[in-house]
């Protein structure tokens, strides 16, 4: 089986296993946290969103160390072993962006888009996700209570919409619904215009996992000595990384597209 097909199969299988908790079926509800971004308010969710657990751990000036440490260790374990591979191989939002990425890639042929992509400021935009993780998940939760869960576009997609469809007339929008709807529409525009736009700029779980790329066992290595800098790898990279110069880049999601694209086979997965 081709490498990228294996990845697709992994994403689909994990998507289904993340959704075994529907009440009508056996309803597998566990006490695990997802090691990726998925909402526990989804009617079929089996586990907790790690960000929800983080928020709850510091809610309104409290500190519940077990609720904080538990998702931290689950994400940390995945981070140390596989870095950000979760984003490419397991995350359902990654699977969604895999689909929308084809549309986003289409825009790349326009010169204005290429120009924007090459702007220095693009690099700095990538820090937004770290800012979101610290400010909206931790600081606002500690100071005033939940904010991120109230406006989260992933929660809207995986929790709000399925709930409204499955239980019509049972719920009505709350105060944050309209704000979340606007953010969700922006989220859709983002993922249809920028390949892996959510992962690149906004995903707080990606921000948490990113630093682990520096020490993860699994990583991607480029044979810089023999690399001809043809840039086929960079062209194929959904995270728009300059692959030939990358070394344990925090942005790398280990999708392996560069590995399969390299005509000289100078890029490979390493396990230590």
């Amino acid at each position: 089986m081709k490498f990228q097909r294996k990845r697709l199969l992994s994403q689909i299988l994990i998507f289904f296993s993340a959704n075994l908790g529907y009440q009508g079926l056996p309803g597998l509800k566990t006490g695990f946290c997802y090691p990726f971004f998925y909402c526990n308010a989804c009617p079929a969710a089996t586990s907790a969103c790690p960000l929800r657990a983080f928020e709850q751990s510091v809610d309104k000036g409290s500190f519940a160390w077990r609720i904080f440490l538990y998702p931290f260790l689950i994400l940390g374990f995945m981070g140390v072993t596989t870095g950000r591979a979760i984003c490419a191989w397991a995350c359902p939002i990654g699977l969604l962006q895999r689909g929308t990425g084809r549309v986003a890639r289409h825009w790349r042929k326009y010169k204005v888009v290429q120009k924007i992509g090459r702007m220095d400021i693009e690099h700095y935009f990538r820090y937004t996700k770290y800012l979101l993780l610290i400010s909206l998940v931790f600081v606002t939760s500690y100071l005033i209570g939940f904010v991120f869960t109230d406006i989260c576009p992933v929660g809207f997609l995986t929790g709000t919409i399925p709930t409204l469809l499955l239980y019509p007339g049972k719920f009505v929008p709350n105060f944050f619904f309209s704000i979340a709807l606007v953010i969700f529409i922006l989220f859709l525009i983002l993922i249809f215009t920028i390949e892996r736009g959510w992962c690149r700029y906004f995903c707080p779980v990606g921000a948490f996992l990113a630093p682990f790329n520096k020490i993860s066992f699994l990583h991607i290595e480029v044979d810089t000595k023999d690399c001809t800098h043809c840039n086929v790898c960079s062209y194929n990279c959904p995270m728009a990384i300059d692959v030939p110069t990358m070394h344990r880049d925090p942005e790398c999601i280990l999708c392996g597209k560069c590995v399969t694209a390299c005509p000289q086979k100078h890029i490979s997965f390493k396990k230590v």
Partner: protein, 209 residues
């Protein structure tokens, strides 16, 4: 290279050891399950459950009424409040219920009180699902009339006449009751309590405990 490997192995051992310890030694797994996964997060949903004050006989999960409710029905109606940590709706409703019964208690308490409401005996139970005994926590699912599985949740149990027998009858309200002000919430709850008390008085003589 050797330095990195040392860092990797140390990090892996620390994290894996910590994780296994959390599963074995601490209740983190059950806290996450009971506190986040099993309970619907209305904040994550950006939705509020529709509230109807219709009284029904059948319990939500077909289990019988818990003994702490059933036993107290001989002295009057029973009011139950379920709340939890990190729940905006619970925070909004918390002072409303305290006002309703002129009570004071902390959010993490587990409260059981016999009260007098407008001259009538009632029994009040407050349960924070994150800090209560399993019997009280699981009772939420018995009264989750509309299968919302979310908090805050309020149930009034009274006695109703059903095909020749008098038996417990209840209604359950959810969230912030789809109302905007505390005064409106208080008025609605007062109405439901008064209605429940009236129904109770009509049927209590036929109740054989």
């Amino acid at each position: 290279m050797k330095k990195l490997l040392a860092v990797q192995i140390t990090a892996l051992l620390l994290i894996a050891g910590g994780l296994v310890s959390m599963w074995v030694v601490t209740p983190a797994y059950s806290e996450i399950k009971a506190g986040i996964v099993d309970v619907l997060c209305l904040s994550c949903l950006k939705l509020q459950p529709k509230t109807s004050s219709e009284f029904v006989f059948a319990t939500a999960n077909n289990e019988s009424h818990p003994s702490f409710v059933f036993d107290n029905l001989t002295r009057g109606i029973v009011f139950l409040e379920w709340s939890g940590d990190s729940c905006l709706g619970c925070d909004i409703m918390f002072p409303v219920i305290q006002d309703l019964f002129d009570l004071t208690y902390d959010k993490q308490d587990m409260v059981s009180r016999h009260l007098v409401f407008e001259g009538n005996n009632i029994t009040f139970y407050y349960t924070n699902i994150h800090h209560a005994i399993p019997e009280r926590v699981s009772s939420q699912f018995i009264y989750d009339k509309d299968h919302v599985n979310g908090i805050p949740m309020f149930t009034v149990v009274t006695l109703g006449y059903d095909h020749g027998t008098v038996r417990p009858m209840y209604t359950t309200l959810y969230g912030t009751l789809l109302l905007d002000t505390d005064a409106e919430r208080l008025a609605l709850l007062t109405d439901i309590l008064e209605q429940s008390i009236q129904i109770y008085h009509e049927n209590s003589e036929g109740f054989h405990h």
